[in-house]
Every structure is written in C-alpha cells, then in structure tokens.
C-alpha cells in the first residue's frame, strides 16, 4: 500500500474511530451529569499524554511548538515569562527596565536560584547563554540575538544593549530564551546532539527519566525559589493515537491530553464523570493563500472577489461546529494583543460576482469565468492528513463555484505541499502553486514583526511571505513597523498593517480553531489556560510565591 493511500485509509479510519468513540461514550453511561466534585489544585502524580516524542527537552533538541516548548520550559527558565494573558512578568529576573529608545534592557537577577545539580545560578550563565546561542545559531533563539551589541554584568544585574531598537525584545526574546548552565553547556560543542544529561535547568521540574518514543519522568524541584510546584511527579506518555489517549483519560490512566480535542467530541467527553475541558483561544490560523506573484492572483481585485465569495462563518459552523473564531481580514486573532477588532470579513457573493464582472472575467460555456483568455480554474493544494482543511477546501470549492471560479482540490502529503508552497522553508526559492490551504502556528502571533514577515518583499524581513506578494504600500508599512522604537508605535504600525492586509488581501484568513483540552478535574484542576496556546505551561504547575 502506498504511503498516500495508507494516509487516506488512516484518515477514514480515524473518522470511523471518532464516530465509534462517540457511540460508546454515549451509551457507556459512566456517571454523566454527576455534580461537580472537589477541584484539587495540587496532586502527588499526574500523567500527561502527548502525541509524539518531544525530543530530549534541551533548548537545542526539544520538539518546537506546543507542547514541546512548554515541557522544556518546565525544566529551563527564562529571564521573563508570559502569564496566562500573555503579559510579560519577571522570572529569573526580578524586573525589567527598558531605555526610551528600546535599545538597552536592564535586568536585575534573582540571587536565590540554583541549577538542578546544585550549582548556583549567576549572571555569568546569562551572558554565557547569549554568547552560546549566537555562536551556535541553528536554533530560533539566536535570530533576535544578532542585534546584541553588548552584554554587561553589574552587581547581579545584566544589561543588554542592542545595535538597533527592538521594542518587542522582551516578549519575543527575554520571555522566550531558556537560560543555559554554563558549567554544563560550555563542554557541548555540537548542541544539536546534546545528550539528555544536558537537560539541567533552574525550572520547577527536573528531568528524572526519558525513554525515547515512550515517556518522560519529571519530578518537582523542591528547591525552586520562585514558587511551589503543584504536582510532585509528572509522567509524560507518548500516545500517538488521540482516541487511545482519550480512552486512557476516561479510565484514569491519563490526566491531561495535551493535544486538542476535535470539536465533535468535546460535548461527549465533558459529560463523562471526572473529565473536564480547558477551553480558550488558539492563535494558530487557517488560511487560503494565493500565489500572488503569478497571474491572475497578482490582481488585487481578483483576490478581493475570491475573499468575498467565501463564507468564513459557514466554515467555522460546519467544520469546527462553531468552536472557533472567524478569521480577521487583518490576519491577527481578535484576542491577540494589538488586534484591530474593527476588521470583519465580508461575505458577499453578489459583490464578488460584480468585482469579477468589472475585471472582465465573463462566464464561459461551462460556467467558468474567463479572464484574459484563460479560465479561472485552479488547483487547490491541501494537506491530506488534515481532515478539517480538506473539508474546508471542499466547501470553498463549492462557494467559489457559485461565482464562476473553479477549483480542484488536490490532497497531498504535507511535505509535498510544503515543497510547492515554501520550498526549503525559504521564500527566496520561489513557489509553485495556484491556491493552497495553509496555516501558521500560534507563535506567529507573538510578535508584530511576524506580521511584517508575512508581506515584506525582502526575504530577510519577509521570511514568512509564502504568497510572494509584492506591494509597495504593504512594504512601506512593514518597514515602518520594523523601524519603530517604542512598543506603542509598533502596535500602531501593526494596526495599520492589519488594515492594509484587509484591503490588499494577499491571502484570506479563514478561521482560528478554538482550543479545547480534556483533563481529569477530579485529580488535578489547576490548569491555567494560556491564551492562544493551551493549559500545559509553567503557570499551571507552579504556585508562585507572593
């Protein structure tokens, strides 16, 4: 059986299994609707199910994204940290002072912190970490450090000076970059192959055991001075099949499933005794991207017409069963900091048809419009292993068909789609597609610079410009955004860019699925949902002092 056929078969089987789980959940009758029991905020032991191995939990070898980064963050600390509402708060640093020009960042450090092996944490470790990341730059923490001009230590205070202003440096670097132990990492010359023994941090949990592809054992760091770990022992089990993980949740073998629960299962699961759902926003996005550098998508009017022909509310209601947010034409999630919430998608097929008429795209004999002698008939690429995106592509095909634009859905394995849309993850290498279902992870909405990255023409600034849009106005505002020196200015520029994105439509932001995570509330109910991400994070598992 070919890989593609197997994936299709797996997809069908998953649907079968989801239906099966629903059916059994419905008739099992194991206490649905019982009154809420106590909601424990501490536990002696918890088991968390993750969908795949998350690497060796060092900053160079963890599996990026959620939950890999968040597991690694239980072992390693950052200077600052984002709270559940994504506001920057101190962690290893006791505070932050930023110069008026956003170039100098002064961070007094805690003096009561130790590494898991008992060595004292000092400012030297911070300086070493910055140097180490800059030297071994094959990790994302290195990108923003290229602008570091100088690092000074004065009385347990670190002063970082950049060669150019970066008002987002605290949120995208200081609250993101794990601090390395100098005495451990100074001997590691090839960090991509860092052994599991290098997972020595200052965080609230020590990595006590790791069996690749099977499980992690984390024990509470009782000497953690910043707060008290709420769970004594965390066991993280790798369970690739979500239905199995959800069954294990019901039996009590697992207490949190780190992967999102599909919308069709949330009601049934939350009706089970002891099972609760942690819900919140999810900053990952689903988009319809055009190849903007290629005719006819280089015409703004055509992109606007296609956008107007898509009923994004219907997509959210049909595919996500209403458990999601309609995409903002400005890309930014309405609940993400700095969002322009006045921007709303306008579904208007009549206006879409009128725009196409105005372009001169008249319907041909088969009903498909013809523009400049060529039918508006395109291939729409989609990941075959993403059921919601495949369904969205099918619905979009129907919607566009009503205004005379024909799309043919082509489901391919993820790598094949990536090769066509984002070859080698380098926008400078071009692209080979018409239309594609695409998505960006929640990380994209953590910094305004990413917004500029989506549309800037220069590949260095526009590293996420997979559509290849070339537009002078977008470029100008993106440059303005990147040149801002104060956070308020940058936020204002981001607002302008969102409005321009809505106007130029280099892509259509379809929706943001809501986050829903199942856990055993009768064992531990202290999960703090971090907006945009999920419940598995340091805020959930540490009761901070003071």
């Amino acid at each position: 059986m070919s890989h593609r056929t197997r994936r299709r078969r797996m997809y069908t089987l998953r649907l079968l299994a989801a239906g099966l789980l629903l059916a059994v959940a419905g008739c099992a009758g194991d206490g649905a609707g019982s009154p809420a029991a106590k909601e424990p905020q501490t536990a002696s032991a918890l088991t968390i199910a993750v969908g795949g191995d998350q690497g060796t939990l060092t900053p160079y070898t963890y599996r990026t994204g959620y939950p890999g980064y968040h597991l690694m963050s239980l072992v390693f600390d950052t200077l600052l940290v984002l709270d559940p509402s994504n506001q920057v708060t101190p962690l290893l640093a006791t505070g932050l002072t930023t110069s008026a020009d956003s170039r100098v960042f002064t961070l007094p450090l805690r003096t009561d912190v130790s590494w898991h092996d008992g060595e004292a944490f000092t400012a030297d470790d911070v300086v070493f970490s910055i140097d180490y990341y800059r030297k071994h730059d094959s990790v994302r923490f290195a990108s923003a450090l290229a602008a570091v001009e100088d690092v000074q230590v004065r009385d347990a205070t670190v002063v970082i000076t950049l060669d150019k202003p970066d008002p987002e440096f605290p949120v995208r670097q200081l609250a993101d970059m794990p601090i390395l132990a100098r005495h451990v990492w100074s001997g590691i010359t090839d960090p991509q192959k860092a052994p599991v023994s290098a997972a020595v941090g200052t965080g609230p949990y020590r990595l006590a055991g790791y069996e690749p592809e099977r499980r992690y054992e984390l024990t509470a760091n009782t000497a953690y001075p910043i707060g008290k770990p709420r769970v004594d022992k965390l066991s993280v089990s790798v369970i690739p099949q979500q239905q199995t993980a959800l069954a294990a949740l019901r039996t009590g073998e697992v207490h949190l499933v780190a992967d999102e629960v599909p919308p069709n299962l949330t009601d049934q699961l939350s009706a089970q005794q002891g099972v609760k759902m942690a819900t919140g926003s999810n900053f990952s996005s689903t988009l319809l991207v055009f190849n903007d550098g290629k005719a006819p998508f280089d015409r703004v009017e055509l992109r606007q017409a296609i956008s107007a022909a898509i009923d994004t509310r219907d997509l959210v209601d049909t595919i996500l069963l209403g458990q999601g947010t309609v995409g903002s034409p400005g890309f930014w999630h309405p609940e993400a900091p700095g969002a322009d919430t006045s921007l709303k998608h306008s579904y208007d097929p009549a206006a879409a048809a009128a725009k196409l008429d105005a372009l001169g795209a008249a319907p041909g004999a088969d009903g498909v419009r013809v523009l400049d002698g060529k039918p508006l008939s395109f291939e729409l690429l989609v990941y075959a292993d993403s059921p919601d995106r495949v369904r969205a592509a099918e619905l979009i095909t129907e919607m566009l068909g009503k205004v005379g634009v024909k799309t043919t859905v082509r489901a391919m394995d993820a790598d094949s789609v990536d090769v066509k849309v984002w070859p080698d993850f380098d926008v400078a290498k071009g692209r080979d597609f018409d239309l594609a279902m695409w998505g960006w992870s929640a990380t994209t909405m953590t910094a305004y610079t990413k917004l500029a990255g989506l549309v800037a023409t220069d590949p260095k600034a526009g590293s996420l410009n997979v559509t290849g849009v070339v537009d002078a106005e977008l470029d100008t505002v993106a440059k303005e955004l990147l040149a801002t020196t104060a956070l308020a200015e940058r936020q204002a520029a981001a607002g302008r860019l969102q409005q321009l994105l809505a106007q130029k439509t280099p892509f259509v932001t379809l929706y943001y699925p809501a986050g829903a995570y199942a856990y055993r509330g009768d064992v531990f109910a202290g999960w703090a949902y971090q907006q945009g991400w999920g419940p598995l994070n340091k805020n959930s598992l540490v009761a901070r002092h003071g």
Partner: protein
C-alpha cells in the same frame, strides 16, 4: 560410470547450487542496500524541519545551510552513499536526525518489543488459524464450518485500527480490566513487572491474532477439505486407523506445507512491526520507529529500519529454503536424486 563414482559430481552440483543461491541473496542484498539509501531521498520534502525544528522558517538562510552541512546533506549523492557504506562496514548506522540518538540504539530498544508483540501474535495466529482451519475443513459446507468461515472472514476484513479501538473501549474503558496503552506501568519490579508487560500485551496481540488468522485459516481449510475424500485418506479410514490419527497424519501434515510458507513469510516481516496496532496501543516497536522516521524524513533511521527489515526477510527466506525439505519428502527425494 559406477554408482560409487556419482557422489563427487553430485556434491559439486549441490555446492554450485548453494553458491548460486548464496550469490542470489548477496545480489538481492546489494540492490536492497542501494534502495534503502535512495528511497528516503526520493520522498518529497526533506529533513530540514526535523533538523531545524518546526520554526525552521525563523532561521536565516546561512543558519539553515549550516544545519544541512552539519549532516553532510550538502554533499553530492554518491559521496553520501560512500559514507553510508563506509559506516555500514563499521556497523554504524549513523545518528538520528531527531536528537542525534544512534540509530543502532533506537533499533536495539524497539526490536525486543516488536519481537515480543509480533512474534507472539504470529505464532498464536498460525496455531489458532490452523486449528480453526482444520475444524472448518472437516465441516466444510455444514453449519458450524460455515459459521466459522463467516466469523473469521469478518475479523479478517475488519481494520485492525477499528478492532483495536473497540477492544480498548470494551476491555479498557467499559470493563476496566486491561491497560489501554503502552508496554509497562512505572513502578513495577520482578514478577509484577512481567505480569505488567503481559497485561499490556493482551490487547495488541489479541487484535493481531483476530485480524490476522484469515490466511492461515483459509489455507488450512482448503487443504484439509480438498484432501478429505482423497484415496489415501479413504484408504487410511478403510484400514481402521483412528480418525484423529488420519486427520493428524494424512490431512494436517500435507496442509502444513503452505502454512509453513505462509509462516515464514510472516516471520520475514516480523521486524517490520505492526504499524497500525503499535500506533493504536502506543507500543514502542519498530513499526512506529519506521513510521515516525518517514514522517520526519529521518534518513539514517529510515535506512537502519529498512535494512533491518531487508536482512530479516532474506534470513527467513533462507530458513524457509533450508527447512522446506524437512516437511516435504518430495523435495528431499529430489535433492537426493
């Protein structure tokens, strides 16, 4: 030419045949070796996401190039192949792109679990399949035989994934008598640990047996049923030989020849694991290791697992060749002549 003078050329003939067979295996191995190297690289995409992490787009082109060069992937294909062969001679299968773990170590950790799971299930599948096949063969066309046939075909047609989920929900969630995932529960030692491993094995083995006995069952059933009224069987009955003995010696024994072939084929794929069942039950075997490696375009791990599979298939084929004469007197006789 006297009879006494014949053995020398016969031995030479046998040696030539053995050499020819061995040469065939070596040629197949060489081709397989090349394919195991080329196949991963023929897949769309590449290992950059695995090497550089999910946010690889955040790396600048120079950092990306550095990552690729660190694993020698910037070298021409023939240079990479040369290195692969050189390392293979040293029994070094390289390091995984996913965290740098030696591939040999990853295979060594996964192999015992796969052998335990698939080995147990193949042997049980063969035993149960043959037993039910004999029963159904003896009752061909009758109520019980037809019922057995329908039942086995039903399970054979059912996807292992679906049967696995049903078993998890019934035995794990509803009855609560068996664990739903993994191979061990932390904290068990000694005999308790053995019992723990066994309890984790019950459901996946059960699913593999239930969904896999079809071939053994059908082959045995057909062989038994078609020989039921053969002259030698009728003759044995006429001689007053007890029915059970007739079944064992005159019906079952000839039926075992195709079963043996089937068993060897199944054993050959032993280390390929049981991908679907390993995935459903979170069983850390070679099937999952291979699948994860394919997903992440982890070339060294793919090469290592493909190679392990190739070697096992070849060894099992050779074993089948060697053991077939023990079961089939016609082959022995042909060998002697």
């Amino acid at each position: 030419m006297t009879v006494a003078s014949r053995p020398a050329p016969a031995r030479i003939g046998l040696a030539r045949a053995a050499l020819g067979r061995a040469g065939g295996y070596v040629a197949v191995f060489a081709v397989a070796l090349t394919i195991t190297f080329l196949l991963p690289r023929a897949l769309p995409g590449g290992p950059l996401r695995t090497l550089g992490g999910g946010e690889v787009g955040d790396l600048d082109p120079a950092a990306r190039a550095k990552v690729v060069a660190a694993y020698g992937l910037d070298q021409p294909l023939h240079v990479q192949f040369g290195r692969y062969l050189r390392d293979l001679i040293r029994l070094d299968l390289g390091e995984s792109f996913n965290g740098g773990r030696p591939v040999v170590e990853a295979i060594r950790e996964a192999l015992p679990w796969t052998l335990l799971l698939v080995g147990t299930s193949v042997l049980l599948t063969a035993a149960v399949g043959v037993l039910l096949g004999v029963i159904a063969g003896l009752r061909r066309g009758r109520g019980k035989g037809n019922l057995l046939l329908a039942g086995v075909l039903l399970f054979d047609a059912a996807p292992a994934f679906w049967v696995g989920m049903l078993c998890i929900l019934f035995f794990g969630v509803h009855l609560g008598v068996l664990p739903t995932f993994g191979v061990t529960t932390a904290g068990h030692t000694g005999l308790a640990a053995v019992g723990d491993v066994a309890s984790h094995l019950v459901l996946p083995v059960g699913v593999l047996v239930a969904t896999g006995i079809g071939q053994f069952f059908l082959v045995t059933r057909f062989s038994v049923a078609s020989a039921l009224h053969a002259p030698h069987v009728e003759h044995a009955h006429a001689r007053g030989i007890p029915h059970r003995r007739v079944v064992a010696r005159h019906l079952l024994r000839p039926a075992l020849l195709p079963v043996h072939t089937q068993l060897m084929m199944e054993l050959g794929w032993l280390v390929g694991g049981a991908l679907v069942v390993e995935t459903v039950f979170a069983y850390p075997g070679l099937g999952r290791l291979t699948f994860d490696a394919i997903q992440g375009r982890d070339y060294p791990t793919m090469q290592g697992t493909f190679l392990t599979l190739t070697v096992t298939v070849l060894v099992m084929n050779a074993l089948a060749d060697l053991t077939y004469p023990l079961l089939d007197p016609r082959i022995r006789a042909r060998g002697r002549s």
